[in-house]
Symmetry: C2
Subunit: 601 residues, 2 copies
């Protein structure tokens, strides 16, 4: 009897788990032409349920990968949020109806909801077009990281060894494979196998509230059934989340005694069926009538925890639910996962390409752990308010509508408030030159007019997630001879051999995309006068003018707080502001890029 | 030796010619689930050249079929038009730079340019998804129309007999087939075979100017190379039409002596190569420099003619270049073709479905012949100006920049000015109730807010080209009890058995889509109070309010000239206003639909 030799293979990045975090990362890396594989132990795609809310910032991010269009076509848009409280005559009544998204700079001023399977299909179809498929029925059985310091420090080495087991042997392949990877990402959920292999602890505690969730097509006279609602009744709280087509999701607060197995102390789904959840919801929404058939349901009680580490030696990473678990009440789960991977993918791509130092990868944990901690803190505050008894005559220390509304109206839930601290990729100087382009925050949307053809462009669309750093050159009024001289002097500085543009140049494959924005009105601006470095192509030059019909635009300098002296703004490949410099201090950018970029070999 | 029997087949609609007119019609009919075939004698798709301009109205129309998105992704947008005239120092200089699209109601305030092959691919891919493919290498050899009056009058008969010859026998099929069709469309170009079979004459004359056309990627210091330009120099006129990517198309006025064969009197392409055309363009654009390599070129001299008939017995139709030939200088060719078919397709679909009387088809010729005559008239005026010598010191009766600009700034070229005369499908009463919804013109864009979820919607997107008549019910202020009573009374009228909604009802397959628009602000409007006939689904009800962020909308009644008394507006399946009635005169609509609709069998 011959023992078959185990197959060995190499890959730049191996991703474990094909949920939102894993799929987002796989797609982003495939986009960046990084050699990536993704495995999942499930035999098939999910069909229903799970997360469903996509925040305004996540829509922006998907747009930067060309994925938002389909989401917007399929999703439900939630523009308003309504709050109901106990009325004096019993039942509930409307107390507030407000914008669901209160961040004024949101490009998409709504939340998008769509079942998670459909959202994952957007990633899966994009990946297919890029030649990457999820390897299903494939389970990791062991993972080892080299302890050799030299190997770990060498970005071209393959220090992670993962054994994969095929659960489905129908194709006659060898059931086992040893994968040698440069990097591994565990996007394998709240019970992450990857996390457990490296004994990464989860800090935090179990939530003490238990909720039922159900998707249904309702028949109701509840006036806000197509808006996001929080009804805090005397019988418990209910969230109403409208969804694609005629679907609505309900989150229903349950009483512990009805769902906890007294012996194990854990949630026992058998103790409560969807009928009981539905009856609870019906009672909470009185005097409004609600009927309908449910399509999916579950019960949950989750912990509010953050992983102590997001990475082992910048070689093995975890993302998404593997890093942080929290209640779904703020609609953040899928968003946090997608944004974790968005933050990580470009950094891995830069390192794999040999463009950036391994140290860049440390900023994944520093940036996303900070975010996760804030998320858990927000979730605790919000959950406490939501699960609390509402303020009534009988319950004078209950939660007031004002308290609830104030907590709701943050730009945290929109994802737009995310703010990364200073690091090697986030400078902290010269913020005053562009107050509206906050160092460590995403570039807000604004429309500029292309100089050559007067076509309006959304600035965010000039910042695709394509692995390149964008250099926004705000020239000031180029038609002013004094300012023109300053711009020409800056260009001379950039053309020096030690300038970052030359230092990190790879022939035919620049790491930078230079976008010029003049403060001039179109009719005063002469494109052909602009130094050629600032117009590598006619399509790269913009003016701060209104669109041709005069409907919008023309106030971009003012909106971004850039003065007539102009500014240089380096934007990271993920769309976050990395550095700002005056035109006459190109060396600020030289130092910024030198802190993590590698000179071509 | 056995003689193979010729294959016979039946089809609802046979289309001859897979250019823009034929493809548009085939796609629209496939969309409407009409049994359609389309044949073309060419063995393969076109690769380059031909028309390239898509007008704002055509973009709206493509959007109504879900085809605009891809066009907008691939095309060049032309926002500005520049005019150059001889300068006092020799060469040309800028005299005017203006909006390229001057129609204020244009939803897309620009012209889209893209090579015709790419535009045709949009139709072809859509058709493929609907299960229709062009049958290539297939030529009609004979066409006969029955003379039997009863057969011609019976919409279920197949009175057109077309013999098709397969030019490519590689697949072992019988080379000949006899197709029996209910309807035939000849979209077979300026030299239409279909038109000639029925001896339809072309009225008009040959143009006396000759132009060269070339597509190239230019290298130039001409400042308006990415805008539409007309340069009228002392050496002739040149049009600059920017195109997708870095392409530019040039139309170059040529001298007759250089291109006409003196013996035949016809254009001889061999007498002039692209180098000569390019040199002429270079000379006309001086002092600006223009170099580049051409990718495609041709020479043309076309007639300005209109077919005397667009149909034979409403059974055989012609569309596009088969109906009208004119110069490409106003960028109308492809647009006229696409709009011909857009006008025809829904009428054929209604008749094939048994919803409308054959007489509806007569409005194709009446509506499109009127348009074609206007197009030729405009083309003559425009061509004369464009081909004329420019006004200079030496040439005091030349064309002045003002003359040119005035003629250019019409809403005719945008396609938005198209205005169909009163007919069975265009009423002429009660225009005063909705001055902004002009009977016989397309519904202009405006954004309303959906009542149930405050999501903003573009009205045009509620009027897809889906074969249904749309009934826009402007209720006025429904929250006003008096107005509510009027609305309820109107609903009672509509529910009567003889009302059009009941008279033309087919169980489970309505011919109408009822869209309700209240003048109320969202917070005053109660959806559940609205009679159910006006809210067949929650998604069908809108309010005239601003979007949730207050950025746009809220003035729709005023924009459309609808007063607080409301109005009923019937919109044809092609997006043109068909009839208007006061709320208390539902019988006006009963009469309108009775003039062409058929009661279900």
């Amino acid at each position: 009897m011959s023992v078959p030799s185990v197959r060995h293979s190499e890959v730049d990045v191996l991703i474990i788990g094909a949920g939102p975090a894993g799929l987002m990362c796989a797609n982003a890396l495939a986009n960046a032409k990084v050699n990536v594989r993704i495995v999942d132990q499930r035999a098939s795609k999910i069909a229903a349920g799970n997360g469903d809310g996509i925040s305004p910032r996540t829509i922006e991010l998907l747009q930067s990968y060309g994925l938002a269009e389909r989401l917007l076509k399929e999703c439900c848009q939630i523009h308003l949020a309504a709050f109901y409280n106990p009325s004096s005559t019993g039942g509930i009544e409307l107390t507030n109806r407000t914008l669901n998204v209160t961040a004024p700079s949101a490009r998409y001023p709504f939340e998008a909801t769509l079942n998670q399977a459909a959202i994952q299909d957007i990633f899966l179809d994009s990946m297919t077009s890029l030649g990457v498929e999820v390897e299903r029925s494939t389970m990791p059985t062991s993972i080892e990281l080299s302890k050799d310091e030299d190997e770990l420090a060498d970005p071209t080495s393959y220090p992670v060894r993962v054994a994969l087991q095929r659960l489905d042997e129908s194709e006659g392949e060898q059931p086992e494979e040893i994968v040698h990877a440069k990097f591994v990402l565990g996007g394998d959920g709240a019970h992450s196998w990857t996390r457990k292999q490296f004994d990464i602890t989860m800090d935090g505690e179990q939530s003490d509230s238990i909720w039922g969730v159900m998707d249904l097509v309702p028949d109701t006279d509840f006036p806000d059934i197509r808006n996001k609602c929080l009804a805090q009744s005397n019988h418990g709280s209910v969230f109403v989340i409208p969804r694609e087509k005629d679907l609505v999701r309900l989150y229903v607060q349950l009483e512990e005694k009805d769902v906890i197995d007294p012996v194990t102390g854990r949630v026992d789904k058998d103790r409560m069926g969807p009928d009981h959840i539905f009856k609870t919801a019906q009672k909470s929404l009185e005097p409004y009538k609600l009927t309908g058939e449910f399509l999916w349901w579950t019960i949950y009680s989750v912990g509010q925890r953050v992983a102590s580490k997001f990475s082992i030696n910048n070689r093995v990473f975890i993302a998404g639910d593997a890093c942080h678990t929290h209640t779904p009440k703020a609609g953040q789960g899928m968003n946090a996962s997608i944004n974790d991977s968005h933050n990580l993918a470009w950094k891995i791509a830069q390192v794999v390409r040999g463009w950036a130092d391994m140290s860049l990868l440390s900023t994944y944990e520093s940036e996303r752990h900070k975010f996760a901690s804030e998320l858990i803190a927000f979730d605790k505050t919000w959950s406490t308010l939501v699960c609390g008894k509402p303020l009534t005559g009988q319950n004078s220390d209950g939660v007031s509508p004002e308290q609830l509304l104030k907590t709701f109206q943050t730009d945290f839930t929109s994802g737009i408030g995310v703010h990364y601290h200073p690091s090697v990729v986030v400078n902290d100087a010269y913020q005053e030159l562009a107050g509206g382009l906050v160092l460590g925050k995403r570039v807000p949307p604004y429309k500029f007019m292309r100089a050559a053809d007067a076509r309006p462009f959304e600035l965010q669309d000039l910042l695709p997630s394509d692995s390149l750093f964008k250099l926004l050159v705000f020239t000031g009024e180029f038609s002013d001879p004094l300012q023109q001289a300053r711009v020409e002097s800056m260009v001379a500085d950039m053309q020096k051999p030690h300038s970052f543009l030359n230092r990190y140049a790879t022939p035919g494959d620049s790491r930078f995309d230079v976008i010029t924005i003049s403060k001039d009105r179109k009719d005063k601006f002469d494109l052909l006068q602009l130094p050629t470095l600032l117009r590598s192509h006619w399509s790269k030059v913009f003016v701060d003018d209104t669109d041709p019909t005069g409907s919008f635009g023309g106030e971009g300098y003012s909106y971004f707080g850039v003065g007539s002296e102009g500014a240089l703004v380096a934007v990271r490949p993920d769309g976050y502001v990395g550095a700002i410099a005056p035109l006459d201090r190109v060396e600020v950018l030289d130092a910024y890029f030198a802190s993590f970029m590698k000179i071509p070999a």
